[in-house]
């Protein structure tokens, strides 16, 4: 098994909005290969398993060390980063079967394994995921922060907008406007920052509507697939608390 040639099935689509089809590839095994090095092998030698020349496969990748979030794809049916998907490990998931690679299903396909994740970045805009500083001029240090809170927030700030959480979320799809766990977690991140908290209301308002926090159904796949182990479900619960309180205070304060 160990040194057998690697068999891969890739769901290919030549362009946006056209039909897709599965193509088989085969390549020699080398130690410590990951999915990316398999795809690179196809770039160098673009032939399918039967030896017929094909167009090389397009996919997104950049850092190859799981911090940039580019190379997300569905591998053996499960969404993850292809750089950290080591062949030795993923071959064990479906013994005897080829490794399957598919583009994410929740975003429009550009080509092959490339998808357009703009919707996620638009969500960040919608929830105002930033600290509204007055400007870059020198105003001295920022607010002091206790290290325990800082460490909590740090976990949330590692989100690389890779899309694993929304891909696995049953409530995030083409027909729904759900903003998804990543953006909700960013609301919690910025609302827990001493300066960011000053605009907490704006961010909460942004998720108190259609597609907002109430569209989460607590399937909790997000927290299981997040490559950065971000406590997304805790973020969702925190945002739920904050929005619930805001709803009630809005009701009685006006």
């Amino acid at each position: 098994m160990a040194n057998e040639p690697i068999k891969i099935r890739i769901k290919r689509q030549p362009g946006p909005g056209v039909a897709s089809s599965w193509v088989d590839f085969e390549m020699p095994y080398r130690a410590s290969m990951n999915v990316i090095s398999c795809l690179m092998e196809i770039q160098r030698n673009p032939v399918d398993a039967s030896g017929k020349p094909v167009d090389p496969v397009s996919w997104d990748c950049s850092c190859l060390e799981e911090v940039c979030g580019s190379c997300t794809m569905v591998i053996n049916g499960r969404v993850r980063q292809s750089c950290s998907a080591l062949v030795d490990n993923i071959r064990k998931e479906r013994p005897g079967e080829p490794i399957s690679l598919e583009p994410m299903t929740k975003f429009p396909v550009v080509r092959d394994l490339c998808v357009d994740r703009s919707r996620m970045f638009e969500s960040l805009k919608k929830v105002k995921a930033w600290i509204p500083i007055d400007g870059t001029h020198d105003l001295g240090p920022g607010p002091r922060m206790n290290e325990v809170d800082r460490a909590e927030s740090y976990k949330l700030s590692e989100c690389m907008t890779c899309g694993c959480c929304v891909e696995s979320c049953p409530n995030y799809n083409e027909d729904s406007k759900f903003i998804g766990p990543a953006a909700i977690s960013q609301v919690v991140l910025f609302n827990s920052h001493p300066t960011g908290a000053m605009n907490a209301g704006e961010r909460l308002d942004a998720i108190m509507g259609e597609g907002g926090i109430t569209d989460c159904g607590n399937a909790q796949n997000c927290v299981n697939v997040c490559p950065k182990s971000i406590p997304l479900t805790t973020s969702i619960a925190k945002a739920s608390r904050a929005t619930s309180v805001r709803m009630i205070t809005n009701l009685f304060d006006r």
């Binding site: 770039q43 030698n45 673009p46 805009k125 740090y154 690389m160």
Partner: protein, 610 residues
């Protein structure tokens, strides 16, 4: 004139900082990036950002930081810009703090600082071991805010191909390609800032991201821009060898107490924790008692190289040494180094908290890059607001970040890159606006034919490749290029080897010029894109090799065993490479280093016998 329009090419730290500053100055930013900017290579920086904030009671100062940087760069760096950068470092760290970067804190809630290579002070602010990611996200968020306000327009998934240069030699815009639709289009703008990072791809495997090809710099160089100090390539001493890339193991591992060692006998087959202290050789600590494992990167890399190749004392006789953190408590490691230890664990399958890591040097950073100028004030300090500061040799084009040559001399100190990227963007942004405001006529009044001409040139190049048959696969050629460069133009350089490599590069150039895409796809054609880039990469490789071949001395990252000493009399000079179409390669010239503040002194880091 309407609001100044500036094209910022690249969405890493330098590009984003420039974009923020331009937006603040009232300019309109067109931000181009080959990936969504949040995925730029800056995310890979791990250890931290330097700034002499001096909150550790050590008497650190910005002048000490300045001196460490100049000394670390082996006196090849022009001093006014370095002085300005180090002086502004505390301000930049505070700014990032205000932007919400989750820097680690002291128990009092103040910023924490750790040690890094090439200094004796705790001067490095850090956010776990993903500082670059955290900094990039902070700037990304600010840019998104300006984007929501309409001051920044993003062109993500667009690649810069070339600058539009008018008949007077002034840049009036850029030509870029949409990497999804493959459309090639011109964009008029008053100024351009190239912030496209380093050229790691030229070396095949490196610690760089796949997007760090050096293509934009090479393209501008071919259009006439000067490229400076190309031969100075930093080799990071500690990387994790890998099949697809060499993943960085941050210097912060040593900053937090990591120790580098090998078994005293290469035939020692025991697992590392079984080997008693007396049978381990801590070769860095032994040779450099003062700095220990925190000597600068060029020195550490050379020592590891020597131990493995000259002394044949690498682990099991191979090309690896131990980087050991197992003596540190788990909780401390998780809190301060979590991110990088997870990378090691994930990709190697061994827990570095339990077993020493196995590492080897890898190509990491280019000190050299597009030449940019700077103006000084009467007191000798850099004039940060002058329109010519940070401008390349092509009027209207600026460079910032790793792609500029300005701040690191012959060797960059760890945690100075995040600083130089942000600082250079902080300077180049406003300078470009000042330049644009001073223009007699804006880019919008330039004749359309100037733009059409450049689009046509690029379209012809790309169409030519798409139509070509019978050539070689570009990904195979770049493997050869990488192998060649790695073996002859990294840690140890010999003139004989460099000469052979140079000849081979000419051959490789011819093959790269005929490379085919082998992809009939109409959208997201990555092979076509790479086949277009490859000949440019070879051009840049020639700049590096020629620079190295000519420089008969050893300085910083440039080390020639046959010329072991630094030669200030002949070589305290910046290498300038300019494309010579006739030779199809660079012609070299030199300008003296601006060393007006600190006199050069021998760079020994306290090693005895030096």
């Amino acid at each position: 004139m309407a609001e100044p329009r500036v094209a910022v090419i690249g969405g890493g730290l330098a590009g984003l900082m420039a974009a923020i500053r331009i937006a603040e100055k009232g300019g309109k930013v067109l931000l181009f990036s080959v990936v969504p900017v949040k995925r730029s290579h800056s995310v890979c920086a791990q250890g931290g950002i330097n700034g002499a904030v001096n909150t550790k009671g050590e008497g650190d100062s910005v002048l000490q930081h300045f001196d460490d940087t100049v000394y670390g760069g082996d006196f090849l760096g022009d001093q006014p810009p370095i002085k300005a950068m180090t002086a502004n470092a505390p301000r930049i760290i505070y700014l990032l703090d205000r932007m919400g970067v989750m820097f680690n804190r002291t128990p009092e809630g103040l910023l924490d600082f750790r040690r890094f290579g090439g200094t004796l002070y705790n001067r490095t602010a850090f956010a776990g071991a993903t500082t670059g990611q955290q900094l990039l996200y902070a700037l990304d968020e600010q840019v998104r805010r300006h984007e929501a306000d309409g001051k920044v327009e993003k062109f993500e998934n667009w690649e810069y191909l070339s600058s539009v240069i008018d008949d007077e030699g002034v840049a009036r815009g850029i030509v870029a390609q949409n990497l999804s639709t493959m459309e090639i289009k011109a964009f008029a703008c008053d100024a351009t800032i190239i912030a496209t990072g380093g050229p790691g791809r030229i070396f095949g495997k490196s610690t760089n991201s796949m997007i760090c090809t050096g293509f934009a710099a090479a393209s501008l160089y071919k259009q006439g821009a000067k490229y400076a100090n190309g031969e100075f390539i930093q080799i990071h001493p500690t990387a994790i060898p890998g099949e697809d890339k060499l993943r960085l193991m941050s210097e912060s591992a040593r900053g937090e107490g990591g120790r580098v060692w090998v078994p005293k006998s290469s035939s020692d087959t025991r697992s590392p924790r079984q080997i008693p202290e007396a049978e381990r050789w801590y070769f860095l600590e032994e040779k450099y008692p003062k700095y220990g494992n925190l000597v600068p990167r060029d020195i550490a890399s050379r020592e590891i190289h020597r131990v493995c190749y000259k002394l044949k004392l690498g682990i099991g006789g191979g090309a690896k040494v131990y980087l050991d953190l197992t003596h540190k408590p788990r909780e401390v490691l998780n809190k301060k180094l979590g991110g990088i230890l997870e990378i090691y664990e994930k990709f190697v399958g061994v827990d570095p908290r339990e077993e020493p890591m196995q590492i080897f040097p890898a190509v990491h950073y280019s000190m050299g890059g597009l030449w940019v100028g700077y103006e000084t004030k009467a007191d000798g300090e850099m004039d940060m607001t002058h329109p010519k500061t940070h401008m390349t040799s092509i009027p209207g084009v600026y460079a910032a970040g790793e792609v500029d040559h300005l701040y690191h001399g012959a060797n960059r100190l760890g945690a100075n890159s995040l600083l130089s990227c942000i600082f250079s963007g902080d300077v180049a942004g406003p300078a470009s606006v000042a330049y644009a405001k001073g223009l007699a006529k804006g880019a919008d009044s330039v004749d359309k034919s100037i733009f059409d001409r450049e689009v046509k040139r690029m379209q012809t190049e790309v169409d030519g490749i798409a139509a070509r048959t019978g050539g070689e696969n570009p990904f195979k050629i770049v493997d050869e290029l990488g192998y060649m460069m790695l073996s002859e133009c990294t840690i140890e350089r010999y003139n004989a080897g460099l000469k052979t490599t140079r000849a081979k590069l000419d051959d490789l150039q011819a093959r790269a010029d005929r490379a085919i895409a082998g992809d009939s796809g109409k959208v997201a054609n990555q092979s076509l894109r790479f086949a277009h880039q490859l000949p440019y990469l070879v051009q840049l490789a020639k700049v590096m090799v020629d620079g190295a071949l000519a420089r008969n001395e050893s300085r910083g990252a440039h080390y020639k065993p046959d010329f072991e000493k630094r030669d200030d009399e002949n070589w305290m000079a910046t290498t300038l490479a300019q494309f010579d179409a006739k030779a199809n390669g660079p012609s070299l010239s030199y300008v003296p280093v601006d060393a007006r503040f600190i006199k050069p002194r021998p760079r020994t880091y306290g090693a005895p016998g030096n």
